[in-house]
């Protein structure tokens, strides 16, 4: 049985990345969906940028900011002696950045689809903003959020370019499944490549099928 550590590593990195992306995406999505402020479209564009940029360009930006000699990276290195480069945490950072726009876009659409009338009704009946969000907005947006989360998870799992540049390719530590496939092909190890590719394909197809089911049930129920 070929070494499947890259798959576990990928799951771990993708899970953390999706969780972090979820927190930020829901926050920003709710802000942009509910409030019209100056620069909102611009903010939306900036937050969506990683979706259209080549992963290597993203990887480069991440290095410039978080590399040992980068803006934030040098501060981290000087004050805490830590560097995100070549660590699985760095891989999480890269995966978060690429997954975030997918979640953000889906979340914003989901929140915009929740009729403000329900929220107003709740407010009139005495609910605090927090209760309105958690008891009305979030549950009504749940289907769209879930679909977005699954897409983001798939994207985080599949990232190669940005993760390679930030976290490098360290077997057992940062070698995600996508990189393991690359390495296996480079070395002519088609056995390992086939196994990894088969498993990844099954996982991705499953995610897409489930996402479609969620999206279509949402439409039918409307």
């Amino acid at each position: 049985m070929p070494d499947l550590t890259p798959l576990w590593l990928t799951l771990r990195v993708a899970s953390f990345a999706t969780a972090i992306a979820f927190a930020f995406a829901v926050g920003f999505a709710w802000l942009t969906a509910r409030f019209a402020f100056w620069g909102r479209d611009f903010l939306d564009a900036i937050l969506t940028l990683p979706l259209v940029m080549p992963p290597t360009v993203l990887g480069y930006y991440l290095i410039v900011v978080w590399g040992r000699n980068g803006w934030l990276g040098s501060w981290l290195s000087a004050h805490f002696g830590i560097s995100l480069m070549f660590t699985w945490q760095g891989a999480v950072l890269a995966a978060t950045v690429v997954a975030f726009p997918l979640l953000f876009k889906s979340a914003r659409a989901a929140f915009e689809g929740v009729s403000t009338e329900y929220e107003q009704a709740a407010r009139i009946l005495g609910d605090s903003e927090l209760r309105v969000f958690f008891r009305i907005t979030l549950p009504l947006a749940a289907r769209g959020l879930l679909a977005g989360t699954m897409l983001a998870f798939a994207r985080a799992m599949g990232d190669f370019g940005a993760t390679l540049m930030v976290a490098g390719n360290i077997e057992g530590k940062t070698q995600t499944a996508a990189m393991a496939v690359f390495d296996a092909v480079q070395a002519g190890n088609y056995n390992l490549a086939n196994t990894l590719v088969a498993i990844m394909s099954v996982v991705c197809v499953t995610i897409l099928v489930m996402t479609n089911k969620l999206a279509s049930r949402g439409r039918a129920g409307r």
Binding site: G67, R68, S83, F86, N169, Q186, A187, G188
Partner: protein, 253 residues
């Protein structure tokens, strides 16, 4: 109206950008060469083209292992220049190179390097210290310099202690880049790569390898331009090409 102009755009743009290739009676040969040959081969390519009007040389630089995979899968290369004998042996066994065309054309050496703006290392022994957290090297599975490094470290009994600290690059150039950026405290590259980056990296020591590093080159069996490819190989052994190689730090084969 809008839809029509959009459709026109999708027809016109590819036509303009896709069609433009100069009608040439030129032969073009594709040389797939190890990453460490990037600078020297570019210069040699220009000088070869100058001496052979009507021939253009294009290059494909990557780790030798990648190149071997590409050629085995049918990539249209005419020449294959490898950084180690082992890869060329594999190519020969796989029948992807022209029998009898293989020649050695240059030698190189393995060096331990460190970023210039870090406190100096003294030698291999320093790599075990806590100060050295990450060491860049080529991936031994597909990059010759990685194989040389691993066997040199194994010979010194250091491989087991240092392996967890090693960051595997997909080519010698990536290992060099990690050191240049200061993301790692040390790295193993060829002397020629260290020379190209001498303002950012400092050579700590030359590492003896039990096999001398000799680069072979051969004509690819599936080449459509075998004559010109052979001419390029011969040129590599010529005094001009050897001078260029020596300029970049390669030794005689």
């Amino acid at each position: 109206m809008f839809l029509r102009s959009l459709i026109c755009l999708f027809i016109v743009v590819p036509a303009v950008f896709g069609g433009a290739s100069p009608a040439s009676a030129e032969t073009e040969i594709l040389v797939s060469a190890a990453a460490s040959l990037t600078e020297s081969f570019k210069e040699i390519g220009k000088s070869f083209a100058a001496k052979n009007p009507g021939v253009k040389v294009s290059f494909n630089f990557a780790a030798t292992g990648s190149l071997l995979q590409q050629i085995s899968q049918g990539a249209p290369a005419d020449v294959f220049a490898s950084a180690d004998q082992e890869s060329m042996d594999k190519a020969e066994k796989g029948g992807v190179i022209l029998p009898g065309s293989r020649i050695n054309f240059a030698g190189n050496s393995l060096v331990l390097i460190a970023p210039v703006n870090m406190p100096p290392l003294v030698g291999l022994g320093d790599l075990k210290s806590g100060r050295v957290q990450k060491i860049a090297m080529g991936n031994p599975d597909s990059v010759p310099v990685g194989r040389y490094t691993k066997s040199a470290l194994e010979k010194q009994g250091l491989w087991d202690a240092l392996a967890p600290k090693c960051v595997m690059g997909i080519s010698v150039k990536q290992a060099l880049e990690y050191v240049m950026r200061g993301e790692v405290e040390a790295g193993f590259v060829y002397a020629t790569d260290a020379a190209v980056a001498k303002d950012k990296v400092r050579v700590v020591a030359e590492i003896p390898t039990d096999k001398t590093i000799v680069y072979p080159v051969a004509v690819v069996a599936g080449s459509a331009n075998k004559e010109k490819a052979q001419a390029f190989l011969l040129y590599l052994r010529s005094p001009e090409a050897q001078t260029i190689l020596a300029k970049y730090g390669f030794s005689k084969p």
